[in-house]
Symmetry: C2
């Protein structure tokens, strides 16, 4: 361990003072950044925002990691869980020089500091959290809970990287954070990097104490060591003592990390090594005001946000603020130009070793394209539409198997799934790849290895959090999950979308691979699992995100799925939602037709239509595999029974094509749209999700009230596949009735055919109750000319 | 401890055999329930569904809890986290007699058993999970993660109740479950009951091992004791040894629970007592087939679902199934009529001590109405609309304060909030009520006590899970949270809605209090917190639920909020979503007008309209506080500048009134709807959430394409309140422009006024960037005649 001399510790302390000074300045000042004149009300921002409480601790850690990096040439990034401490991280990134490189107008001088202060939590400025505009960040600190899962995702397949993950004691109370400690059981010390969790306890959240903040060291040691960590405590408030102790502790932990890795790298992986974790207890609002208006501040919940309020109008408070800021001795840490003095500036690492400039935190810089096997090689040879049943996702699984093989060298592709890879018919990947698990393996285990890149943990939060961390550091992956339970991590999907929406506005953030979410086991085919498993809600959530980042695909069969998946894995900066069921299903298109169809986004399916030479009476549209099946079957039935009725079938695979072009880049031009949907003919639309999504999408199109949508209406239970579409009024017979009713052409047969449909529905009802399964003519239906 | 004699243990073993027999029967048989003839293919269901793996363990626990209850007259309910083990719980509820009381056609005889088997996971039958139709259940086992939070919610304020919460090792991997262990820090041993967690480890989830299943006892002991539990292990597979050991362990744990309570009840609460928790390790699929087709089944992941497949067509498998079922000796546990023999039947508790019949698990039976202070006493005296600013939620906080006082005796009301009660301006509750915390309390703590009923934990999952458990056991509460982060627990809202949708179909399930979710700190006023805090998505999620259970209210001011909240707290079986911001806002209605308005659900606001004697040119509609402000300000501006233009203002407080009546019980009749919105005039609608929700709601109304909706368009950043509405195109000037453009009456002033609006928007832009705050004329705007 490097012996730290007192002068070095003192320099570090002054560097920390500089960071704290800049933090307070960001919260309070709009002028007079270096306190060259006495503080007066006009120097104070009109609205005081920001979180002081966690900030000095975040800076303390940053300063010490800088030392570690510099001494060891360590490759580290910093994830700030208590992300409200934005000004602290910004201060440090500014001090190390990164900030001014990324934002040249925020210079390292008086004027730059002035702009730095002014922009913080200000209209047109930067948010109060660590966020997308913060160099060095891959983690937004707004919605708490994901810092550990992001950290582990970043460490996977980055053997040299050490991710410092700071967890605030507020965040430590969230479920996703608690569920992420066990990521250790999935971290391979040979091929993966390390995560150094720093649980930074200052006792309080906004106004109440936290469970871990109030817990004894013994309890915390038990808890965290229960996950397999080697737990190290440090508590104190005397800065110089804490500097010495923390520096030594960081050296110890870094050496332990390297020892864990070196042992495994020379002896192989037996089980989870004793990775270190740090519990750091410091006062909330450390070094800030001790008392204001007779109330204790430092060390209490009152230090959470702005510790001295009303500064503009309260001279005493203004004076306290000035004293507080001057306690950091700005005149001695910044030179006459307002630049950090060289003696301190040299404490920061250089170049890309600076945590604000480490390319892993701008993962697109490191992104390597996936080697994608030709997806057409996995095509089903569909000779004729609607005659063969196949599990579509199985073809995807074969392709993914070969993606794993093709990228074995690059080590930059993983599949994340809550223990359903086989159930989702993606099991072919296990021919070449294993499930990852770093705990002891026994003989009954199936395709399990510490080297696996199929990440199966029964936690949607963890699957998605890992994948997000993996993507943000420049790799690729897919999250495959049950449709209904995709809502478990819906808020993560929202926050990641928001991250992307912000990220694409920043030219310095390099493009990253899209977040690909594959939903199988959909509502329509969770007939056996019942109502709790039936919910297509994630479509609505993704639909609310902006067109610049959100994509929704509903491939109706295997070949379309392959084409869509290839497109998604090549895409950048999107959230791609792909929905298709895993059960055997009728196949519609050969590969070339599928490619053409997916490229267009929606097509008229001539073979299923009978309006070849005339305007159709009704357009039948469909999006999603089961809606497509019911629509095609309905069109077929109508053709058999009333060939005079001209029906056009339109299939939608890329949902966003329905938007007008000004709302989404995939939006179809009105003229094209009318080519398919006509100007004014009734459209009976069968949709995979909640019907309103279609009403939203076609809002503004010609005669939008002619769109009659059937979809998931929140009707479900334990039943048969066909009964599910019956319950929701989307069965082929319901669609036929709707078409017959909407057809403006009067035809004598119509009442009789409607009656016949109703008879068939009644027959279904009787049959399904008696036989516990779908009628054979439904189950085995296929297209016959 | 009661010494258990061998004959009693043997009787318990045979009772367990009976439960296992019924479990296997439900999975496999559609006929020949008592195996009175050799098993043949036609006795086998056409589709084999269900989860055997966890079931024998669930039954094992049930049988032993029965003994405990009977011996101690214990008041217990059973929450089955591994809820896929539905057939096991159904079997036990059937054996104890509850099932036949609730469902008289499922008799305790041959024919009843036949129906019991046939209905399981069958069209028109019951789901494969523990679910709403299962007597004794308050917890659906579909989406895993909530069993502990539900259990603690049930135990709160039920001092006599012991909630056995069985956690499967799959569920134990989920984030919400891991985040719920710490509930112990909020359980008061004096006034609350107890939760006995039984972590039932059988090693595997669907196909992979689980982290805790593979963890050593030492690690698990550390982990669970780190949360404060006194951890007890039991592992084994020899049934008789396990019976003896588990009986003793349950006695021990029950006595420890009572000791914790008695100590606290005589000495007061110091800190969290050493509540027991059980780690039970038994083989997956215990007592099932050891090996099938040369592959090990019992004790492996292969026992997860249906352990012997293809039974209908494979004579060898059929034979194995018959041997397996006969191993439980059905002929000796059921009498000639198919009824459990009296010697075994007497092992079950009697009456409401049976876990299937305990009224706490059908909480509506115990529900007592809240004493609600007259909400009108908390009204703001609004003399004139739009002239005074108040924090609306502060009035609610005062009313809630007095709700706490009025129900102090009943002890049946709690407020759940992630540490934001003060921030949400509900802080008046602290005049009479404290935050709950059972850890040591120090002098800087604020309104903190083990006796508190304000439940603040920084976990939306835990807040909502506790509240759900509290409601399902017959109490009342509110979950108040930040709007954007309500999506964190959106899937819980979905699952609870589904529970209610099923529950109201079952006449035996008594009505329970509604799940009331109050969203404050909304997207429009998270201008200072930035984009990650701006998301009104929960409205869309609740909108997708059925009208029978879902309600959404957007009160525009304090008096409306009080009226709505009173209605919601009196309501039953709903999910009520209330959205209103916490910042000072203009007040519109006096109390009587507010009551009338909320009773109607939507009203034309005459005072803000100028169409008194004529048809309006344009209708301006609004829903939500900020949209109302912008709409009223826009109508005022138009009235100043172009009084000839006739504008009607309609405010919507109950969003569901917009639905047609056949889609929602609150839906407004078309004639009434037209009275407000006219038949064909353009409607410029300012909406709190994503605009599409309105398009969905008005779909099917006359000329729906005339609805032009402005709302949250996913535009946000750190800025000012007014800039938020500008960014999303919903500002008063945007609304004016929209009105002026849509007005069909041509008027010479229109182009000039549109230009003036654009000038004002440009002025705003310049001002806000320069002054970091809203222009004074925006900030201080009020209605002037």
């Amino acid at each position: 361990m490097a012996q730290l001399d007192q002068p070095q510790l003192e320099r570090m302390h002054r560097y920390w003072n500089a960071a704290n000074y800049l933090t307070v300045g960001q919260i309070y000042l709009q002028a007079n950044p270096l306190l060259r004149e006495p503080l007066s009300p006009e120097h104070i921002k009109p609205r005081l925002l920001g979180h002081w409480g966690t900030s000095p601790g975040l800076s303390f850690i940053y300063v010490h990691l800088n030392r570690l990096i510099k001494e060891r040439d360590a490759n580290m990034i910093y994830l700030a869980g208590p992300g409200h401490g934005g000004p602290a991280i910004v201060a440090n990134v500014y001090l190390e020089g990164t900030y001014s490189e990324v934002y040249p107008h925020i210079t390292q001088d008086h004027d730059g500091m002035h702009r730095l202060f002014r922009q913080f939590s200000t209209p047109g400025g930067i948010p109060s959290h660590v966020s997308v505009p913060t160099p060095g960040s891959i983690h937004e600190g707004g919605e708490l809970g994901y810092v550990l899962s992001h950290a582990f995702g970043a460490a996977f397949d980055n053997p040299d990287l050490v991710v410092a993950a700071v967890i605030g004691d507020g965040e430590a109370e969230t479920a996703p954070l608690e569920g992420a400690w066990k990521s250790l059981s999935y971290l391979n010390p040979i091929r993966d990097g390390a995560v150094l969790p720093i649980l930074h306890l200052n006792g309080y959240k906004i106004s109440g104490p936290t469970v871990l903040g109030r817990a004894s060291d013994d309890h915390i040691r038990n808890l965290i060591s229960g996950y397999g960590y080697d737990v190290h405590f440090l508590e104190g408030d005397d800065p110089m003592q804490m500097h010495r102790a923390f520096a030594e502790l960081l050296d110890t932990c870094y050496e332990k990390i390297r020892a864990c890795q070196e042992y495994a790298r020379s002896h192989g992986v037996q089980s989870v090594p004793p990775w270190p974790a740090i519990i750091l207890r410091t006062p909330k609002g450390w070094t800030g005001p001790k008392e204001v208006d007779g109330k204790r501040i430092e060390g209490t919940y009152r230090a959470h946000q702005v510790p001295i309020d009303g500064v503009k109008n309260n001279p005493e408070h203004l004076h306290m603020l000035e004293e507080w800021m001057r306690s950091y001795q700005p005149g001695e840490i910044f030179d006459e130009n307002g630049r950090l003095i060289p003696e301190l500036a040299e404490l920061a690492p250089q170049g890309t070793r600076r945590m604000g400039a480490n390319p892993h935190a701008n993962g697109g810089l490191l992104l390597q394209d996936l080697h994608l096997p030709l997806f057409t090689d996995y095509a089903l040879g569909v000779k004729k539409p609607a005659t063969e049943h196949h599990e579509s996702t199985r073809q995807l699984g074969m392709w993914m198997r070969d993606i794993f093989s093709a990228n074995k060298e690059q080590q930059n592709f993983r599949l994340f799934c809550p223990d359903e890879t086989n159930s989702n018919r993606l099991g072919n990947v296990f021919e070449v790849e294993n499930r990852c698990f770093v705990e002891p393996i026994i003989s009954d285990d199936d395709n399990l290895s510490p080297d696996g890149r199929v990440m199966e943990v029964l936690s949607e939060h963890l699957c998605q959090g890992w994948l997000e961390g993996y993507l943000l550091t420049g790799r690729h992956g897919i999250f495959a999950t049950y449709e209904a339970f995709a809502m478990v991590s819906a808020s993560m999907t929202i926050q990641h979308s928001k991250w992307m929406e912000e990220g694409i506005k920043l030219p310095w953030r390099a493009d990253i691979s899209s977040l690909n979410i594959l939903l199988t086991s959909t509502c329509w085919r969770n007939d056996h699992n019942g109502f709790s498993h039936q919910g297509p809600g994630l479509i609505d959530t993704v639909l609310s995100k902006k067109g610049t980042v959100a994509r929704i695909y509903l491939p109706p069969d295997a070949n379309c799925l392959l084409s869509v998946a290839d497109h998604c894995l090549r895409s950048r900066n999107y959230v791609n939602l792909i929905v298709i069921d895993k059960q055997p299903q009728l196949q519609w298109l050969n590969m070339q037709d599928a490619i053409d169809h997916c490229t267009r986004g929606l097509s008229t399916w001539q073979w299923a239509s009978n309006d070849q030479d005339v305007e159709p009476d009704v357009v039948m549209a469909c999006a999603g595999d089961i809606p497509t099946l019911e629509t095609i079957a309905a069109a077929w039935w109508l053709r058999q029974h009333i060939p005079e009725l001209k029906v056009r079938v339109v299939n939608v695979v890329d949902l966003m094509t329905l938007y007008p072009p000004y709302l989404h880049p995939h939006g179809m031009e009105e003229a094209k749209f009318v080519e398919h949907f006509t100007e004014d003919k009734p459209v009976v639309f069968a949709f995979h999700g909640y019907p309103r999504a279609i009403h939203e999408l076609v809002h503004g199109r010609a005669n939008e009230e002619r769109f009659h949508v059937r979809g998931f209406n929140e009707e479900g239970t334990t039943t048969t596949p066909f009964d599910m579409v019956v319950l929701n009024g989307m069965s082929r017979y319901h669609l036929c009735i709707e078409v017959l009713r909407r057809a403006r052409r009067v035809h004598g047969l119509i009442p009789a055919l409607i009656a016949e449909c109703n008879d068939l529905l009644a027959k279904h009802h009787t049959y399904v109750r008696a036989h516990l399964e779908d009628m054979p003519e439904i189950r085995d239906w296929a297209w016959t000319d």
